[in-house]
């Protein structure tokens, strides 16, 4: 089958799925259980028109916009530091691995206790989920890195910042980008989990509240908003990655889950 054929079949499956959903709703299955594509579409438009969905989305976006970059940058920085310092790695590695064993979303209630039900508890959960993925990917990159590049650069008299940014970071950048991109959906999960636990606004709050009063269509609307957020963030990260890694002819690199 050619590319064209594959695309056609894919679209047929998607359209078939939505058609079946639309038909099933109200005929075979109660609408309050599964809603329907047309109802969801109308709720989506209404949600943004009447304003409060935009407000909820904005709140969630702000939580991610603070927690994600801070988590990613500190994860990358610590992964780099561990890779550079044997001593640091020897002391802290077992501790970090033990901490990583904690199901991190289980800490969300604790963050509410520590940081209140506002913005900062969600930022905390986003940070936590983002940090570890970025840390582990960067640290793996540091350990996989061909030390001969560093030796050669040192021999050519290159050290300090130039070594870090002209040699080490480019060398590990495929791993760093894998970390960033795998952590994007987790950052969104972090924000939502925080909002599920305790919040007065945000898309997670909106989903939980809608489910509580059986407004199933709105639950799906919330999910769609989150999907769109993840897709947009991933597309941005992908564009940056493609630009940064344009020296790489082949795109494949190891996928490490944190």
């Amino acid at each position: 089958m050619g590319m064209m054929g594959i695309t056609l079949v894919r679209f047929a499956i998607i359209i078939g799925f939505f058609a079946l959903w639309e038909i099933a709703s109200g005929r075979w299955i109660e609408p309050f259980l599964i809603s329907s594509p047309s109802r969801i579409f109308i709720s989506l438009i209404d949600g943004f028109r009447e304003g409060d969905l935009l407000q909820h989305s904005w709140v969630t976006l702000v939580e991610i916009a603070i927690g994600f970059p801070v988590g990613a940058i500190s994860g990358i920085a610590l992964g780099y530091a561990f890779g550079r310092s044997r001593l640091l790695a020897d002391i802290f590695e077992p501790i970090i691995i033990a901490l990583n064993g904690i199901p991190r979303t289980a800490l969300a209630p604790l963050f509410i206790v520590w940081l209140g039900i506002g913005l900062w508890s969600k930022v905390g959960v986003v940070f936590l989920l983002t940090f570890f993925l970025n840390f582990f990917n960067t640290y793996t990159g540091m350990r996989q890195m061909d030390e001969e590049y560093v030796d050669l650069a040192n021999l050519m008299g290159v050290k300090g910042w130039k070594l870090t940014f002209k040699v080490i970071f480019p060398a590990i950048s495929p791993y760093v980008f894998t970390g960033i991109r795998t952590s994007i959906p987790f950052a969104v999960i972090g924000a939502i989990v925080g909002e599920f636990v305790a919040a007065t606004e945000g898309v997670g709050f909106f989903i939980r509240m809608s489910a509580g009063i059986f407004r199933t269509a709105d639950v799906f609307v919330g999910i769609i908003v989150l999907m769109i957020m993840v897709i947009i963030m991933d597309k941005i990260a992908e564009a940056v990655e493609r630009r940064a890694l344009r020296w790489q002819s082949q795109k494949e690199h190891v996928q490490i889950q944190g």
Binding site: L155, M156, G157, V158, S173, W247, S249
Partner: protein, 275 residues
């Protein structure tokens, strides 16, 4: 121990001073089973400025280890290496190193790779640009300045890797079997180019190889090493005139003589009787 400094110099400047003095150097490695492995044993070697030295020996004789010690990648277990009058402690930034694989920085273009060692403090922008384009030209890579290493052929990467080490003009270049993985034709072309570059620049080169013909064809002296523990078995002077014609090296006067002596040593080493 054979001593190059006492042998007559092959280089044009007869007053040439000793650049590297390897004094009774040994190197031990620990195997994973905690046994000591003697990679090098009591190596003595003097190398003078502007000489082209080749080092041959069977694989595992420690010839690459010797280069790594001179570069200061790892310390000697015993003895010392004196470089331009100073003992090597830590990285020796006065040498250029051409590793077995090209090891160009794959994220930098050819131009950026070649200019990598040119410190911005020592070279002005214009000087730097001039130096880079001169060496790219020397390597026959003009037109490929903006290419990434991944887009180059094996031979081109090799050339780029060599001029990267030459471009910042360290007084000594260490080459660790640089032409090993190349096909025979590319190899000869690169040997020829290396000699031409060297005729112009006259940096001191220590060139490790396992190929006897290559060792004789390129070197002023051939240092012969024995199997583990690596020791210097002999040092052979190659009495061939320069410039040499790599493509017809067998016909050049002096080749048979040097090659014959070298092969004799290896025959004993390999325990093959005379024909």
């Amino acid at each position: 121990m054979p001593d190059l400094a006492q042998a007559p110099s092959a280089s044009p400047q007869n007053q040439a001073e000793t650049v590297i003095c390897v004094e009774n150097v040994s190197k031990l490695f620990q195997t994973p089973a905690r046994e000591n492995l003697e990679a090098l044993l009591n190596i003595d070697l003097n190398i003078r400025s502007a000489e082209f030295i080749t080092v041959v020996g069977p694989s595992g004789c420690g010839k690459s280890t010797l280069l790594k010690l001179i570069a200061g990648f790892s310390p000697c277990s015993a003895g010392r290496i004196v470089f331009q009058g100073e003992e090597v402690r830590g990285l020796n930034t006065k040498v250029g190193y051409v590793p077995q694989e090209s090891k160009l920085f794959p994220w930098l273009t050819v131009e950026e790779n070649v200019g990598f060692g040119l410190d911005s403090k020592r070279y002005s922008r214009a000087d730097r640009q001039r130096q880079v384009s001169q060496f790219i030209k020397l390597a026959g890579l003009d037109g490929f300045e903006k290419y990434y290493p991944g887009q180059l052929s094996g031979g081109m990467s090799k050339r780029a890797s060599i001029v990267r080490a030459l471009a910042y003009e360290p007084p000594v270049i260490l080459m660790d079997e640089p032409f090993g993985p190349l096909d025979a034709q590319t190899r000869m072309v690169l040997q020829d180019e290396l000699l031409k570059i060297w005729e112009q620049k006259r940096q001191t080169i220590i060139f490790v190889t396992h190929d006897l013909v290559e060792a004789v064809a390129l070197g002023d002296y051939v240092v012969v090493m024995t199997h583990r523990p690596g020791k210097i078995k002999d040092i052979i002077k190659v009495p061939m005139a320069r410039p040499r014609n790599i493509f017809e090296i067998h016909r050049q006067e002096g080749f048979d003589d040097a090659y014959g002596r070298l092969w004799n040593i290896f025959r004993h080493e390999l325990n093959i009787g005379a024909h």
